[in-house]
């Protein structure tokens, strides 16, 4: 949000005056000023709204992207939505997973588990994406990190389930289901971007990544 404001302030020649009226200022009636005026209107309106509205908008966008990523239909709408990557979603799910696992009763090293999961998710996404790029895939770096982070959500659900149930085989069944869901979504996204012969080489790290996280969710 602040990023947008700074960008517009660099282009805007009006200093310190918030122009609320959508009409063109006669002094700067040049053709290229008009788009600036429209975003200026957006900037001023987002500056004036309450914090709750801003947060809700961000949460709604996270929700929309989550639905695109996890409901595995490959429509062009999904693809366009995913091109607007953001790292808020992955951060939220990473923190949720790390907190859930470090607070469950079964262990005496909560901070260690939190740190391990946090580092594992971010370094893991980084390395998996780098691997896909090195194999020749046309993957944009942060878009891939974003999708991998969003696909951690089913494992989050799995970790929450294991908190409430205590029968081991039921837990195992649920966590395996969540692992398959995550992997299927992530693989569905990544397999389009890798050349044919190296597909398994690029997808195996994704499977390993989610397997590792699901294992943590099951055992802790």
């Amino acid at each position: 949000m602040e990023f947008e404001v700074q960008e517009n302030q660099a282009n805007n020649s009006i200093q310190g005056v918030i122009n609320l009226q959508p009409q063109v200022n006669p002094v700067q009636a040049q053709h290229q000023e008009i788009p600036i005026k429209q975003t200026d209107l957006q900037v001023s309106s987002t500056l004036e709204e309450s914090v709750a509205v801003t947060l809700l908008r961000d949460l709604r966008q996270i929700g929309v992207k989550l639905r695109c990523v996890l409901v595995p239909t490959m429509s062009t709408n999904n693809a366009r939505e995913l091109r607007n990557w953001d790292l808020w979603g992955p951060l939220v799910f990473c923190l949720m997973l790390a907190l859930t696992l470090s607070m469950s009763g079964n262990n005496d090293d909560g901070p260690g588990i939190f740190a391990t999961i946090f580092v594992l998710i971010w370094v893991g996404s980084f390395v998996v994406t780098l691997n896909a790029q090195l194999l020749g895939g046309k993957v944009s770096f942060f878009q891939s990190v974003c999708v991998l982070g969003y696909c951690v959500f089913p494992i989050n659900l799995g970790a929450l389930f294991t908190l409430f149930f205590s029968f081991f085989y039921l837990k195992m069944f649920l966590v395996i289901g969540c692992f398959l869901w995550s992997t299927y979504s992530a693989v569905g996204f990544m397999k389009l971007l890798i050349p044919e012969q190296k597909r398994i080489l690029a997808l195996y790290p994704v499977i390993l990544f989610y397997l590792f996280l699901s294992w943590f969710a099951l055992i802790v």
Binding site: R83, T116, V127, L130, S140, K198, W215
Partner: protein, 254 residues
């Protein structure tokens, strides 16, 4: 969100520029400049393998008496194998070491997450540090093997540890030492047979220096492996030699 889209087109432009550079100097695999090794394009030629290649190379590891490996990989050393075989090993170590502890104590199951950073450090330092040292020594002594080929050789030799880790699940001490010995033997033979062709061009003392380095590193790796991750687990007494703060020696149940 517009900024997000803009950033991506910048990245894509950079990737296209990198590929255009590669097309220009097509005879030269590496980027010029001192910081060339920090770019993605520097390492792309080393990922030029397919699935069948990788499977073939891993299979060659288990048959050390047929030194096909170096012939296969001389022109095309790859980095995918070393990196992801070690990552798989880290996962398996964590899984199996914890499964062993879960079985021995029913009431108070504590999960030791310290294995993950320890395993990562041990495996990646050995998988990339040993070949670095070996490559330097070999360059000094006059062997014509490049750095990446040594890394490739060492990384694939780690795949002997894959079935060993799975078998380490069993609690029988004698069995564990047996398979560790098999692992040491297999990987040392694999490394030496594959280096044999290069080493035969040297004098005797230099050859033995290199062989000694190889043997020492493999022995220490396997010893560490056994003692740190899979040490003796008895009925009521979980005894580990890990240095993580969470594990404490418990009283033997009487």
């Amino acid at each position: 969100m517009e900024i997000g889209v803009q950033k991506q087109t910048d990245e894509e432009k950079q990737v296209q520029k990198g590929q255009f550079n590669k097309l220009n100097d097509s005879g030269d695999k590496r980027q010029t400049g001192y910081c060339g090794f920090l770019t993605v394009e520097y390492y792309t030629p080393y990922f030029n393998v397919t699935e069948n290649d990788v499977i073939q190379r891993v299979k060659a590891t288990f048959l050390p008496f047929r030194p096909d490996f170096l012939n296969i990989t001389k022109d095309n050393p790859d980095l995918w194998g070393p990196i992801w075989i070690n990552a798989t090993l880290i996962f398996m170590i964590t899984a199996i070491a914890n499964l062993r502890q879960v079985d021995s104590e029913k009431e108070n199951q504590s999960f030791d997450v310290g294995y993950v950073p320890q395993a990562t450090a041990l495996l990646y330092i050995i998988a990339f540090g040993t070949p670095a040292i070996l490559a330097v020594v070999m360059k000094v002594l006059g062997v014509d093997l490049s750095f990446f080929q040594t890394i490739c050789l060492y990384g694939y030799s780690m795949s002997t540890l894959l079935p060993i880790t799975i078998l380490c699940y069993f609690q029988n001490e004698l069995f564990l030492w047996l398979i560790i010995t098999y692992g040491v033997g297999n990987s040392i033979l694999f490394l030496i047979f594959n280096l044999k062709e290069e080493l035969d061009k040297l004098q005797i003392q230099k050859k033995y220096i290199i062989i000694a380095i190889v043997v020492t590193m493999q022995l220490s790796l396997y010893l560490f492996y056994k003692l740190v991750f899979f040490s003796y687990v008895s009925e009521g007494n979980v005894e580990t030699t890990t240095t993580s703060a969470s594990s404490e020696p418990k009283e033997p149940a009487n």
